[in-house]
Every structure is written in structure tokens, then in C-alpha cells.
Amino acid sequence: MKQHTGTQTVKRGMAQMQKGGVIMDVVNAEQAKIAEQAGAVAVMALERVPSDIRAAGGVARMADPTIVEEVMKAVTIPVMAKARIGHIVEARILESMGVDYIDESEVLTPADEQYHLLKDEFTVPFVCGCRDLGEALRRIGEGASMLRTKGEPGTGNIVEAVRHMRRVNEQIRLVVGKSKDELMTLAKEIGAPYELVLQIKQLGKLPVVNFAAGGVATPADAALMMQLGADGVFVGSGIFKSQNPEKFAKAIVQATTYFDDYPRLAELSKGLGEAMKGIEISKLTESERMQDRGW
């Protein structure tokens, strides 16, 4: 019988299989194995984690394919990789390598300050960042199969992740509560495709999986994002910038599954050693804020 690859169901379905899980940033095979052993549902292969990208400055690009390949060989779980916003060729290169998911990511320096990738045209699925419902629906309109609220990457500070998750969910409730004849104006106001706004009204939720990202540094942070309605969490710098990555990774995986079991969360949070050192958001200059990249 005929087999159809790259369909919407297959691309979105892949993200559905990641729900309730933790996706971890890794920079080499050794870290990828630690992540897999700890129970990560996928790894994001990078040259540098976001906090090191911040420290290094300059232009951040797609990782060296050698690193991505090394990680793909090391683990059996899905491997994601980041392409710059609007960088068609980086995305096609990653697709040709057989990466399982591409993150069109504001953590890297954007290649296009006007247009995102037309992700519908790819066989590989994409995840994109969002800070509000309009941004979320624009990315879905372009073909994103999964979303993540942006937070502020590489800060170890959860405040922006919370802000973005709350905003998306608040705006979904707003759409659901509006009458149908009010939705065209609302679509215009938030800059979202009208058809997708109608779909939100009908479904009462996003049509794709939405993870939390950008600032998760402790098991309690991960559990908090799950309670706020995230389908799962991305942990970037939080794990391998902590004192004991193995223990930390395991604890975050557990906390994501048992996000409302407080005695268990207390146990998980004991003796983890120091979490990554965080950054106060107000200390970031405008050009240091990664979340503002994306249009």
C-alpha cells in the first residue's frame, strides 16, 4: 500500500510523541548519552549552549555538521538541531542529514529580518518559538509542527518563560470566549491568520504541541511550566551548566512527569548541587534579548 511521508499528521505526530518529556541541549556525544540515560525524549545538538552563545557574542550559526552527526550516532532518541531564522540553506542541510526536527531558533543570529522559513515545504518537521498567540499562529501558518514559548534563553531565569506561557494561554481563552463575529478583528489585532484563529475557537487549544523553553534551571521550574499548561520542556543551559548534570537531568525528567506531586518534587530537589548561575532580565540590553528576534 502507498506510504505518504512528510504529511501534517506525521510531522505534528512526532511532537505529540514527545509530550510530557524533556528535550535537552547537548554539545557532544558524551552529553547526548547522559541525556538519553536520564530519560530525555530528544536532544538538541548544538555547538554551544545558549548561555555560552551569550558569553561568546558575535554571530551564532548552525552547528558544525560533525557535531550533529556525532550526536545522531551516539543516541537512539530523536535528534534536533537549530537553523537560523529564515536560513533556507542551513535548514535544507540539516534536513539532508536526517535530523529528526529542526528548531528555527532565535538563539542563533537571524539570517532574515523579515521572513521566516516556509516550513510547509520541508519533509522534516519544525519547532518555532513564540511569545504570544499571534506569533504562535503565524509560525503554524508557515508550517511549524510544534511550538515552544521562547522565554529568555541562556539566562536560567524562568520569568520570561512564565510570561510567554501565560500570555499564549490567556489569549487562547480570550479567543474561545469571543463570539465568532469578533474574531476577524481579533485576528487583525494579534497578527494571526484568521482561519487559525477560528480553529483555536473550535479546538479550545493550539492545534500543535507547545513546549516551554528559555530559562528552565531547576526541577521546580520544569514542574511550574507543566502546571502552566506546557506539553513538555526544553532545557538548554540548565543541565550541563549545573554542578551535577547526570543527577540534574534525571531530576528534571521526573519533575516533568510528576509535576503536581509535591512531596516527590521535594525529594527530587534535594542535594542537586548548584543550579546554573542566572541572569536578571533587566540587566540585559535590548540587543542581548534573544526573544525579540522573530517577526
Binding site: 505518504h4 511521508t5 509530550k19 518529556g21 525524549v41 530523536p78
Partner: protein, 197 residues
Amino acid sequence: MTKTTNLKANKIIGVLNLQGAVTEHLNMLASIELVRPIAVKKPEQLCQLDGLIIPGGESTAISRLIRQNDLFEPIQAFAKQGKGIFGTCAGLVLCGTETSHNEVEQLGLIDIIVERNGFGRQINSFETVLDIAPIGQQIPAVFIRAPYIATAGKQVKPLAFVDNHCVMAEQDNILVCSFHPELTTDNGIMRYFVERC
């Protein structure tokens, strides 16, 4: 979706809620008359169930969570009592006895050797339709980084194939498939499972 089955009494069907496509299974179960679906996170919940679904997700992650949260032996005991277990995709891997790598600690409920990600990476994931003798023809099936059954013991009954690879099978009270019925709008496979519980 068809609601009716030959069920005569209510059935409580659990979906193992550690990681993966849990709500999709719960929603599909809820579309069937007389079925009460519940999400299961703790071993003490198993005793109230007539059947348990181990859903798709990442088999490595789910296997760690099963072990760390003391569900391994209770699920094996549940299967030994003859209660129905249905493993989809990652669930198939977990129900099996052996696999080519050792990242997954399997429950050994059905005598199959599993090739994880047998159809390739995500880029090779596909949708198709299958003929499944006891259920029907042209049943929609979604394969996502899907495993297949490489070898099966004599007591295992194969139910469906893709490219000559076995993708669905049963052995007594254990049913497994390497694809995702829960991502389609056809609940035929789910009805088949609950009728056996």
C-alpha cells in the same frame, strides 16, 4: 467514530501516563461506549483496571520512568493476571523481550524481538492503510520513527505487515502495534482491544 462494541458491562481502561501521546489515547477510548478511560501514574491504580495501554512516546524515557517509579513489576503482575495490555509504538518496544540496543529495559510480556526505529528516522515516517484480518481492511495507520517486529515466537499471532515487516501482533492478552491508531479518526483497533479486556 463508531461508538458501539459487544461490551456488556463498563470497562475501565488505563493509559500509562508517564510520557507520550496520553491524551490522544484517552480521547479515543472516550469515544467508545461503556469505556471509562483513566490516566495511570501510580502502581496502586492498576488494581481497578480491566486493561492498560502503554502509549507511544520515547521508549527509553518511558522505560526509565517505569523503573524509577516502581511500576515495572506491578505491570508484569497485571499482565500475568491475564488483564489486557495494548502497547502502541514505544509501547510495543516496552512489551517486547529483546531489542538490538540495550537502552530500553523491556517488560518481556510478548515473545518478540523488536527493531527500534526499524523504518528509519523521522524523515521516513509515513501514513498508510493496513488490512488487519480480525478488524478490517484499509485501516489508517501512522508510523512515526516506528519499530517493527523482527522475530516472533510461535505463540505470537502476526496481524499486519508493511514491506514484509510485522507491525502488529498478539499473544494471549497482549496486543501490540508499531504504529499510532490514536492519531487517526478510526477507533476500530481500540474497540478490538477493549472487547478483549
